[in-house]
């Protein structure tokens, strides 16, 4: 059983100008010890997805439906008290802007101690010692001195390390990181990603990393889930999705990366209006390979792209009509419509590392 199972998650916001559909029937799962990346453009619903896992979205404007099963417990039906025990204690969050995630009037050590005290991990001097240990573990130099520093005295990279330390203070099972490196420079980003990978390996920590940067995905992910306009377009292992992207949107994303072989090609058009998404496939107005079938009938269900998958989670599937017959064998007539899959050529090399 997967550690986190999201089934048919939908999040709607009622506003004066109509109902905004942020997520519409999203499914994915995260296993213990694995790193799953949630990829998508700005506005695809990634952040809403993260916040809705532990019901951090304020509920009157947001309507959350579906099921979020964490260790066999449905979080959407849990009491607020139970959720507070889970938040931080078993599911921890890391946010995008580290400077704003830290309270400016408290020293860094105090905030770590608070995270520990809330979940009964340690108090007093024991907590302070543990705080210094954790700071050391996330790579803060001279942690005994840094523990009394204020957030504005730390650089961006160090602040993000502190935020990661806070997230790990109560020894959670799942780390949900919402674009943790977007605000950092590339060198620091690489170091933070290495840190996350190490921590995940040594603590058997499951990581759900949300990002729009495919380079980050290639570097750290075990599996990928591609979101567009609130729906899952493709999911699979990182090798499968990067080598043979099954969905035109994923292919377009990879093509839009600057690389050695070709000039980057941006995807024309823009995200659909979340209040009135297009009928049929959400991506079809911007898709180079759209056919008549794409234009109505709702989003196509996830079709398995290759049937020879070891486990259920490793199935490579895409929500595209072109894969509708690909379930059984490997030589379905997909190649005609999606040329890059037919030629068997790998996509842009620069997507790897």
């Amino acid at each position: 059983m997967a550690l986190l199972e999201v089934a048919d998650l939908s999040v709607r916001f009622r506003t004066d100008r109509g109902t905004v559909v942020a997520l519409d029937g999203v499914d994915f799962s995260v296993d213990r010890g694995e790193t799953v990346c949630l990829v998508g453009e700005s506005g695809s619903g990634k952040t809403v997805c993260c916040s809705s896992l532990t019901r951090l979205l304020p509920s009157p404007p947001a309507q959350v439906e579906g099921a979020v099963r964490f260790d066999e417990e449905d979080l959407l039906a849990a009491s607020e008290r139970r959720l507070r025990a889970i938040r931080g204690g078993r599911i921890a969050h890391v946010f995008q802007n580290p400077q704003s995630a830290l309270d400016p009037v408290y020293a860094v050590g105090d905030q770590l101690v608070e995270a520990m005290t809330i979940h009964g991990v340690a108090t007093g001097t024991a907590a302070r010692r543990r705080a210094v240990d954790i700071l050391d573990r996330v790579g803060i130099p001279d942690p005994a001195a840094r523990v009394d520093d204020y957030p504005h005295e730390l650089s961006g990279g160090m602040t993000q390390r502190v935020v990661i330390a806070m997230a790990l203070a109560a020894d959670p099972d799942l780390l949900v990181a919402d674009e943790p490196t977007t605000a950092l420079d590339v060198t620091t980003e690489a170091a933070i990603l290495d840190l996350l990978a190490e921590l995940a390996a040594e603590r058997d920590l499951a990581v759900l990393l949300v990002t729009h940067d495919l380079g980050v995905v290639a570097g750290i992910a075990d599996r990928v889930v591609v979101l567009y306009a609130g729906k899952v377009m493709e999911r699979g292992t990182v090798e499968a999705v990067f080598d043979r992207p099954a969905h035109p949107y994923t292919r377009a994303l990879l093509e839009s990366l600057p690389g050695a072989d070709a000039d980057p090609r941006p995807i024309g058009g823009s995200l659909p209006d979340p209040r009135s998404p297009p009928a049929g496939c959400r991506f079809h107005p911007r898709c180079r390979y759209a056919v008549d079938e794409c234009r109505d009938g709702g989003q196509p269900p996830m079709h398995a792209v290759d049937a020879a998958a070891a486990t259920a989670e490793a199935v490579h599937a895409a929500s595209c009509v072109h894969h509708r017959d690909a379930g059984g064998g490997g030589d379905a007539p997909v190649g005609r419509e999606l040329p890059w899959l037919a030629t068997g050529q790998p996509t842009a090399e620069d997507a790897h590392d």
Binding site: Q99, D103, Y106, E114, H119
Partner: protein, 397 residues
């Protein structure tokens, strides 16, 4: 860069089954405050039965006792945060004194507080001494015989128009009843300090609690609380005092209590708007995602971040309170027969024509208290402005 490679560097695994429940932390500050108040209560009982006072040579008024209790509370709750966070306090303090107006207003306010606090022990309470009536301030003169019947200082001028010179015995002169004006100014500072402290101790906790609840919780709680604040704001505190004074007699204590309980509305609105801003900030979201409940978030994250605004708002209210108390005592609606005279009474008697002297002739009897009051009020107002500049967390470090 880090040493997480060796197994012994790992953190001990947490035994979740052994840990249960929340840790209970003793609220030391509250315990100390309660004990101190109980001690004060015992002293009060002793003093009221024997008719003496531990500090003064005369029995203290009710306002003074309430003021003492408020001082205990201020020291118990206001001082520790300043001390535990000493580097931040000194940093802000240095920023404040680097500004010329900040330094000036801080000195004036310090003078006000010190004068009100220890002044009475140094100069005693105002005493009448009819033989010293209407002495002018030092270096000033006044016609002898017509104004100053007796002259304590040098007598000069001509035989027909003798003038009396002021002395250092009464540097600011004396009143009609021979009370020394320096003592009266100190007395006025003392009364103003009592008024300021008691009213603030009443207003700030109520305004903070209401503002935080309305701002952070929002929704129906916010609506109900703010509608009440609107209604309360429509009732002038002064009118409430007049009505209650009619029932229970005039007293400064009643005035201060009425103001403390009825004028906290604008401060509550300020706290509410600050709370609404902080509610949306990243660290509140991070705290929620770490499992902190709403009480913990308000107490530990919202309150400290709005505390500087509360301080600025409170320092803005104090000058108003002092002026209102002065006005009320000026028109005679304050206490009668208190050992300490407020500025209002001093100014009123200085303006009085009971002895037939026009105010300009005996100008010092009212110019001195008015000037003292004006300096104190201005100092407090400017200090409030300067504090706002210095404490704004969105400003530079």
């Amino acid at each position: 860069m880090h040493q997480g490679d060796r197994p012994e560097d790992d953190l001990e695994p947490v035994d979740w089954d052994a840990l249960a429940g929340r840790q209970f932390r003793v609220p030391w500050r509250a315990v100390v405050a309660v004990l101190a108040l109980l001690g004060l209560g015992l002293v009060y009982r002793q003093a009221s039965t024997t008719g003496t006072d531990p500090l003064y040579a005369w029995p203290a008024s009710d306002l003074t006792w309430v003021y003492r209790a408020c001082v205990v509370l201020v020291l118990a709750f206001g001082l520790p945060p300043l001390l535990t966070n000493w580097p931040a306090t000194t940093r802000r303090g240095r920023q404040l004194v680097r500004r010329p107006l900040g330094l000036a207003s801080l000195l004036v306010t310090a003078g006000f507080v010190l004068g009100g606090l220890v002044g009475p022990f140094l100069v005693g309470r105002p005493r009448t001494h009819i033989l010293s009536a209407l002495q002018p301030p030092v270096y000033a003169t006044v016609p002898k015989g017509t104004v100053a019947i007796h002259c304590l200082g040098r007598v000069g001028g001509t035989a027909i128009d003798p003038v009396c010179y002021g002395t250092w015995q009464h540097p600011l002169g004396t009143t009609r009843t021979g009370q020394d004006l320096v003592t009266l100014v100190v007395s006025g500072l003392h009364v103003s300090l009592e008024v300021a402290v008691v009213a603030t101790v009443l207003m700030v906790p109520i305004a903070t609690a209401v503002g935080l609840a309305a701002g952070y919780l929002g929704g129906p709680v916010d609506d109900v609380l703010m509608r009440y604040v609107d209604v309360q704001g429509a009732v002038p505190a002064f009118v409430v005092y007049i009505v209650l004074a009619f029932l229970w007699g005039h007293s400064l204590l009643l005035l201060v209590v009425v103001f403390g309980l009825v004028s906290w509305g604008s401060l509550a609105r300020l706290v509410r708007s600050e709370a609404i801003q902080r509610r949306e900030s990243g660290y509140v979201e991070a705290a929620r995602s770490a499992g902190v409940g709403p009480g913990g978030i308000v107490r530990r994250h919202v309150l400290p971040n709005v505390s500087s605004s509360i301080l600025v708002g409170a320092t803005g209210q104090i000058p108003q309170l002092v002026l209102v108390a002065t006005a009320v005592t000026f028109i005679g609606l304050g206490d009668v027969g208190r050992w300490f005279q407020s500025f209002g009474e001093t100014i009123a008697s200085g303006f009085g024509l009971a002895f037939g002297h026009q105010p300009p002739t005996v100008w010092w009897t009212w110019v001195v208290p008015v000037a003292a009051l004006a300096v104190v009020v201005l100092g407090l107002l400017v200090l409030g402005d300067e504090l706002r500049e210095v404490l704004d967390p969105r400003g530079s470090w």
